[in-house]
Symmetry: C2
Subunit: 200 residues, 2 copies
């Protein structure tokens, strides 16, 4: 879904050819998600077929130019007006994996949680490094990076929350409220936005 509308959005700014669309897409999103060039062409073909864009011959150097049609403009403004629904987002593989790890006998869920936590922290460090080394004036670029950072931080908090829940579950509600350490209560595990220095 996303790249279809991505191309429409880029074409709403100016006519373009396939190769150009890829580089514009990547300069808008900061090349965090390199866009497959083959797919650009197949998507353009589909959009053309559906009347949302139209091929307008070749420019002076033989590049196949495309232009947004009125139908495409309508489709696009519909996209802008409609929030991204949570319903049609892809399944979260991590959540599924943890759920299955817990319910499958013979699987050490705690070990999986810890391995994953290390991986996510590592990723978080990559992201903050990338962010530090990039032009702070390029807004869209920076916000995309920060989107990933926010998500990764939430993931770490969730992993910690899972581990705490597992422990509590292990002590199968035999202990009464008023327990051992601290921290293991409901939500709010760990401070948010604590990106650096959470390596364990």
């Amino acid at each position: 879904m996303s790249i279809k509308y991505g191309l429409l959005a880029l074409l709403s700014d100016a006519d373009a050819y396939g190769y150009q669309l890829r580089s514009r897409f990547e300069s808008a999103t900061g090349s965090v998600w390199p866009l497959n060039i083959g797919q650009v062409y197949t998507t353009l073909a589909r959009l053309d077929r559906d009347g949302l864009i139209e091929g307008i011959g070749t420019d002076g150097d033989g590049r196949a130019m495309y232009r947004l049609t009125n139908a495409g403009r309508t489709e696009l403004s519909g996209w802008w007006d409609t929030p991204v629904a949570h319903a049609d987002r892809p399944r979260d593989e991590l959540a599924i994996k943890i759920a299955l790890a817990i319910t499958t006998p013979g699987v050490d869920a705690t070990a999986i949680l810890q391995t994953q936590r290390r991986e996510t922290i590592r990723h978080l460090q990559d992201l903050t490094r990338v962010k530090r080394q990039s032009d702070p004036d390029d807004l869209s670029w920076r916000l995309v990076a920060e989107s990933l950072i926010f998500a990764a931080e939430a993931e770490v908090r969730w992993l910690d929350h899972c581990e705490a829940s597992l422990v509590r579950h292990g002590r199968t509600r035999k202990t009464k409220p008023g327990n051992t350490s601290g921290a293991a209560d409901g939500d709010s595990v760990k401070d948010p936005q604590a990106t650096e220095g959470t390596t364990r």
Copy 2:
């Protein structure tokens, strides 16, 4: 990728047939992601073809049973041991949309951010309601729901952060530090885990 390993995980517990696998998958993940039954069968066929599972005739009532092979067991334990990489996760349509909204002339990015925020808050309320109405003893179920809650909360914070950044960017660093309202600084926009009562 996820459902392939999901089926392997379920089959590592006990032999099963297609229909059964779907209901087990959904009872593990809390039917937040209803699993397409058609795909279960095609995936089983692929797994069989690749030697990770094998069809073992039909049970007494004519249901096509499958069993995990040794190769499948190896593949599965590899999955358990390897953390989910951030590299091969799907693109985040929301982040792309906002990035394009900012870079495309003639698009009201602030309006899009606000519409999205309302939608996400609404979703968050749905999730907390679902969580409240569910069995608190079903760990895996609850954690999956909370995974979505953590992610949605992070999304709201990010959206707020985007809006603040846009405002700051609008005043193109002509104002000096020491400014108008408050709140619009760097990270930590809004308190985390504040699920209820953030409707605006």
